[in-house]
Amino acid sequence: MINDKDSQKIVDYIQNFARKQSLFVMAYGTGCGAIEIPATMTSRYDAERFGIRGAATPRQADVLLITGYLATKTLKRVIRVYEQMQEPKYVIGFGSCTINGGMYFDSYNTINALEQYIPVDVYINGCMPRPESVISGFVKLQELIQQGKADNGKKYRENLEWYRTNQKKIIKNWKMPDYNW
């Protein structure tokens, strides 16, 4: 019965619904964007009504929220956090800096495109994006999840070679532990 396609569809639907409605966010407050998170979560915008709540550790989190520019030093930590998260896991790039470097595009220590290093599901534009746009970003992510298109953990695993090459290009002294994928 489980192999039955229709019932699998139903199961998928339910699973995706639960995933979509319950997003535990690991907010990696790298840059100035971190200040927008409290506004998003508290009374005025209340992201919890979408089932979005903070997670304290990457083990429990579903969504990795990168809020702002990523220095190469920080990127190392972000990669580790991302790898410690458990699938299905999603990444939201938040603010212009994660998209193209923003105002730091020519900085000697800031990466310019996040998806080169870890797979990103949704980018939220703006410098900084207001809570409305953050929530809209989350809603977009939820749509993707419901459609089953958002599982980038698998993508990361499958293209690990490529991501690693990119990561190692800028993190010269690669001392990360090896995971038993």
Binding site: P58, R77, R80, Q84
Partner: protein
């Protein structure tokens, strides 16, 4: 030859033999010990008849040897534990010097305990008691200068206890004209009407071995400083000798108490109970701030003995049964735990919890033993420890109406979770230390005794009746008639019963269901990772970095309970010791070393005597 003399002979010749063998082939010293104890155990359990009496006389004193149902409980405990501990000891002590010294004292201390068990008169009881004491003292100082201070402390306190006991013994002889224990009881030595000091002195003597507050201060050091294979017996069995004596005395006192002395007995009961309770609490809170696993266990032993004494002090059927049950269970799990500490010490080289962590992968069997024993220690169902605690609470609430003592005991028992966890966590859990990567599981002869003890704990948890049977018979000897027990059902005075087997069945079913569910569910998706792979805000701990939280583990509790830590019995005894030293120094100065002064002394003495001659001497 009489079986009792044969046993003593075997023990003493075993002691001498192991001493000699060590000179020839140190390897076989431990095996000799094991064989000696095994032979004695075999003889004891096959040849000795319960309630048979052997009479003889030594130094003009009538003596009796014999075993009754009550002491038989302790015989099982002592011989069983000694057998396992001596097996454990073979490999544990392998690389040490002076094995002959160790093993001959080892055997002598066991001989002392077995002798105590089959002594039916006070003199042989005392003789064996002292043999046990000094042989164990010699083992405590086995470790050299480091432990000589704790050894001396142990010896002094033991002497205080032993001499208190001797005072009572000779007083019994003086007042009741016999040294035979049963006759003394019949003659009313423990009536608690006149010669109240006799039972009290005896209790003081036993209380020292049972590490009752305020006479416990020797115990933590002595337990932790002696070799672990001996401490397993030291804490497991030897402390129970104190319990044996206390049980005997208290049972006689209670069963002979009449209306006139009811109040006295009540006071005694309350004092003992509270002393036991305070012992339990204080030892517990000191246990949880220890960083050395051995010391933690030592304090824990003191605390557990506190429970047992509380149980004995109630004097009720359930209370005494709880105490005896706890005594056996405590011997089992504390024996196992000290063996665990010993195994860790041997394999790693230290038991300092701040230096060790993450041994679970290296020493799984040891961890299993530790886990089971700790569950029993904490009194968590379904293991044996719970049964004992259950009976203790029931006795306190339903039979002896000592409600606030319940709270004290419960506080201690809850705080015991803290140090129990600390022990498991400190040694076995947490991140793996880089320095102890080479560590392997302990040798088989060390694992076997530990695992046997763990299995005993599990079985007694499900079927406490196995232990209830001998205990009930022993209690009948003490004068408690109509002791009910069932294989797995606990009944309190109000008629309520708890079926341990039933509970265990439930737990087992739920366990299997959940375990299968968790294990099978997305089996492939489950990854086991190393303990270095933890979420540390993205930071990567280096190879040598150990993030395990070990120092000041219960600092907040320590702060909250700061008033409790202020008064330390050690300090009070130290002050007393210093005061005595001052007195000694003063008396020393009487001897000035000056001839004239001495001559003056003589003259003064003569003059004083002449002045007071009429008051001193009459016709």
């Amino acid at each position: 030859m009489n079986i009792f003399f044969l046993i003593i002979l075997i023990f003493f010749s075993g002691a001498i033999l192991s001493f000699i063998i060590n000179r020839i082939a140190p390897k076989f010293s431990g095996i000799t010990t094991f064989v000696t104890i095994a032979v004695v155990s075999f003889l004891f359990f096959t040849q000795v008849e319960i309630n048979s009496i052997t009479q003889f006389s030594l130094g003009g004193i009538q003596m009796q040897f014999g075993v009754n149902n009550y002491t038989y409980i302790f015989a099982i405990l002592v011989l069983g534990l000694s057998l396992l501990a001596s097996l454990f000891s073979i490999k544990y002590m392998q690389d040490n010097d002076r094995l002959g010294y160790f093993y001959s004292n080892f055997i002598l201390s066991i001989a002392g305990m077995v002798g105590i068990i089959f002594s039916r008169d006070f003199i042989s009881f005392f003789i064996f008691w002292e043999i046990m004491t000094w042989s164990s003292y010699l083992i405590v100082i086995y470790d050299g200068a480091r432990s000589s201070r704790s050894g001396l402390k142990y010896m002094i306190f033991s002497a205080i206890g032993a001499y208190a006991m001797l005072t009572a013994i000779v007083s019994i002889k003086g007042s009741y004209g016999t040294f035979i224990i049963s006759e003394a009881i019949e003659n009313g030595a423990f009536n608690f009407t006149d010669h109240i000091y006799i039972p009290i002195m005896l209790l003081v003597g036993f209380a020292v071995k049972a590490a009752l507050m305020p006479l416990h201060v020797w115990a933590p050091n002595a337990y932790s400083k002696s070799p672990m294979s001996f401490t397993a017996i030291f804490s497991g069995a030897m402390s129970k000798m104190g319990i044996l004596g206390m049980g005997l005395v208290l049972a006689s006192v209670y069963s002979h108490s009449t209306d006139e002395n009811a109040f006295n007995v009540l006071i005694l009961r309350q004092i003992l109970g509270w002393l036991g309770g305070i012992t339990a609490v204080m030892a517990t809170i000191y246990a949880l701030i220890q960083t050395d696993a051995k010391k933690l266990l030592a304090y824990s032993s003191v605390a557990q003995l506190g429970y047992i004494i509380v149980g004995l002090s109630t004097g009720t059927k359930l209370g005494v049964m709880a105490a005896l049950f706890l005594a056996i269970i405590h011997a089992v799990f504390k024996g196992a735990l000290f063996m665990v500490a010993g195994a860790v010490e041997r394999q790693v080289g230290t038991t300092d919890m701040t230096k060790i962590s993450g041994l679970i992968r290296k020493m799984p069997f040891t961890f299993f033993t530790a886990l089971v024993s700790i569950i029993a220690l904490a009194g968590i169902p379904p293991l044996g420890g719970f049964v004992g605690k259950w009976m203790l609470y029931e006795a306190l609430i339903t039979e002896s109406n000592n409600y606030f003592l319940v709270i004290v005991i419960f506080f201690s028992s809850t705080a015991a979770f803290m140090y129990s966890y600390r022990f498991l966590f400190g040694l076995f859990l947490g991140q793996e230390e880089k320095e102890i990567e080479h560590v392997k599981e302990a040798p088989v002869t060390m694992i076997i005794p530990m695992v046997i003890l763990a299995l005993i704990l599990i079985v007694t948890g499900v079927y406490p009746g196995i232990l209830f049977e001998p205990i009930a018979q022993g209690m009948q000897y003490l004068g408690y008639s109509d002791v009910n027990w069932d294989m797995s059902v606990l009944v309190n005075v109000w008629g309520e019963e708890s079926n341990m087997a039933y509970i265990n069945l439930t737990i087992g079913v739920v366990f299997v269901v959940i375990f299968i569910f968790l294990t099978l569910k997305n089996l492939k998706g489950t990854r086991y990772v190393g303990t270095k792979d933890i979420s540390t805000s993205g930071e990567i701990p280096t190879e040598n970095e150990n993030l395990t939280f070990q120092l000041d583990f219960f600092k907040p509790f320590q702060r909250a309970a700061a008033p409790l830590y202020k008064r330390s019995m050690d300090k009070i005894w130290n002050d007393l010791g210093n005061a005595l030293e001052a007195i000694f120094d003063f008396t020393r100065r009487i001897y000035t070393g000056n001839g004239q002064t001495y001559a003056l002394f003589v003259i003064i003495f003569l003059v004083i005597l002449l002045i007071f001659k009429n008051t001193l001497f009459t016709n």
